[in-house]
Point group: C2
Chain length 382, copies 2
């Protein structure tokens, strides 16, 4: 039983969903969680409770791991550089990870790599914001370079004045990333895995449906032409290579009349890849473990012609067990994934996946199940 140990920094649902993959592979999973009640800490025996911003906590945790990887991007880059210098194997490494941590760094590097991006600028005052907006056209998108997720840290602003109070609240000297607002037909995501020795595997392109900046549904494969899909995959593979990513890597894209434009990056398993647990021959969670361990990567083909994933957001009802029971009774083919989280309105507390022959049918079933779970008993609410 000499199999390696993978340490995951962060105890959220991504670390939780790595656990089944680790059990199958026979690799030991360790988790550094903020709280002993975190989603992953509930299901993994080998948990350390600590703050990932505390270098000593990270260092202690890393001691028992053959490789360190992540559930989220909130670990200070400088801590990771120190650990790496001390001999800890960090995957993805800090030089790659910084592109998922800092959106300004990401834009600069993608532009260097000639990857299609929205027009962008780093702005640090009201005049620069006005200049950028007048140049690319209003409204524009403003983002905090670090720390945003699920629509947080992102604003659509109609004018420089509109941005003034936010900018002020960030304190003097703060800079923002300003981006052109991209008009798109749909949003796409491409999942890639890349291992240290350079093997890469790409999953089918999916469509993501966002509501209020939060992913609600993922449809695999996206209803786009083969040529279009290959072009999106090539861009994702080019970025993974260019940034030296190791592990699973997600690229969110806007699909526009002029081609795809890269929106965001994530260097870890991603919500847009949850469908792979049942929908692909190798789940993104197994693939991530294989990639960070430099094991050969698994097959990425789909297990059925169509797969739909619907996030389960908390509703008004705290106890989901009734909805859960109804959901199973109504559709014995729905795959449920509960994250062990306390229900709060709008919080992602689970997801459901359906697979089948017909795109419309799998989508309707997944939506219905997610609605049931949050307590919409007619299963139709969005």
């Amino acid at each position: 039983v000499d199999f390696p140990a993978v340490g995951v920094v962060g105890g959220g649902q991504l670390a939780r969903m790595m656990a089944p993959a680790a059990i199958g592979l026979g690799v030991r999973l360790r988790v550094l969680a903020r709280e002993a009640t975190d989603s992953a800490a509930q299901v993994v025996p080998d948990v350390e409770v600590g703050d990932e911003r505390d270098l000593d906590a990270l260092r202690r945790f890393a001691k028992g791991c053959d490789v360190l990887t992540f559930d989220h991007e909130h670990v200070p880059t400088e801590h990771l550089r120190l650990l790496q210098a001390e001999g800890v194997v960090v995957r993805p490494g800090p030089d790659a990870l910084v592109h998922a941590q800092d959106k300004s760094v990401m834009r600069a590097r993608l532009t260097q790599l000639a990857v299609p991006c929205p027009r962008w600028a780093v702005v640090s005052g009201i005049d620069e914001i006005r200049g950028f907006g007048d140049d690319v056209g209003w409204p524009i998108v403003l983002k905090t370079p670090r720390g945003g997720y699920d629509g947080k840290g992102v604003r659509l602003v109609e004018s420089a004045e509109d941005a003034a109070s936010w900018l002020e609240s960030l304190g003097p000297g703060a800079s923002l990333l300003a981006e052109e607002r991209v008009r798109f037909d749909r949003e796409l995501a491409v999942l890639v895995a890349r291992s240290p020795h350079g093997q890469a595997a790409v999953y089918p392109v999916v469509e993501t449906v966002q509501v209020d900046g939060i992913c609600r549904e993922v449809l695999a494969p996206a209803a786009i032409s083969e040529e279009h899909a290959v072009s999106a995959q090539s861009i994702a593979l080019r970025i993974a290579e260019g940034l030296g990513v190791t592990g699973v890597f997600a690229v969110e894209m806007f699909d526009t009349a002029g081609g795809v434009v890269v929106n965001e990056l994530a260097m870890r398993p991603h919500n847009s890849g949850h469908w792979t647990i049942e929908g692909a021959r190798t789940s993104q969670f197994e693939q991530h473990l294989r990639a960070v361990l430099d094991l050969p990567l698994g097959e990425t083909s789909m297990t059925a012609p169509h797969v739909a994933m619907s996030n389960v957001l908390g509703g008004e009802i705290a106890d989901m067990y009734d909805g859960y029971l109804h959901c199973m009774a109504h559709d014995p083919g729905v795959h449920l994934h509960m994250y062990g989280k306390v229900v709060r309105p709008g919080r992602k507390v689970g997801h459901v996946t359906t697979v089948g022959e017909d795109a419309g049918d799998v989508r309707a079933r997944a939506r219905h199940a997610a609605a049931f779970l949050r307590g919409d008993s007619d299963g139709t609410a969005e």
Copy 2:
């Protein structure tokens, strides 16, 4: 987070493989393991170390569980009856479980239910053995009614004299189950799940390939006619109903010229059902948890036309990591399941599953991968 807790008595690979299912379902899994290093105890946080033959240990363990279920059949029936009387929910209950614990009880009950069995008798002396053998024809099969598994506790004997020393070693008054030796074309297994309120679900019939009394391969579906398969499934459903089984239940059968004949029963997830993890829409492990929690059962259809499972038996090489790496590199579509067990020659330490369009191809791939893992680098050895 008010989801129920399922307690599993036994810390083997079956309990281990329930863990990924429990994580997805959001139900809490507790394990009573003999040792803290047991296969399941390595991957489940909530483990009690204790002996399942110790009533107090069982009682303590049961306190934290909404339902008690099993990784193996070695819990004394009388302990379970006591626990049940004290209000513990035991599934399958002792009245059902005894049929999987005691082969003589099983034969008597199946005969009552008019289920096709080999001719049998409970024998307790050399003269009775001779009488039975002379009646049904030599050789005959002798089994210890309790405690056998993987070919242990089972002997093929050519004559009464052949049985004498074994019978003697069991002590005075010992009885054995004598069975006619059945000539069969192949061995089949049928997996059923049944919930307390009586819902039942049956999986496609599989062929099992046994070598020296140990299951080596499982092929799904079995290459038999639809009519034949339905008849085998009906028998399994009839037994599940007749015995009042709750949970997943496996029936091993001989396929003979005259129809199927029941060989053994198991009242828990079973080696013949490991293929369902990737090969069926609902794995036997998820199905077992749903059944014992009286949740609606999941879909049992296959995810591909053909699925093969090959057990990984320990070979001469203790460290399997090299073979593991080769295995992934050679076939990115193989699904590996390692049990975290110390390798000993002949010990089941994992299994591999392949899915695909062609029966011969998936079988060859699974065999090859299992051979690789045990250290046969040409991947051809049996």
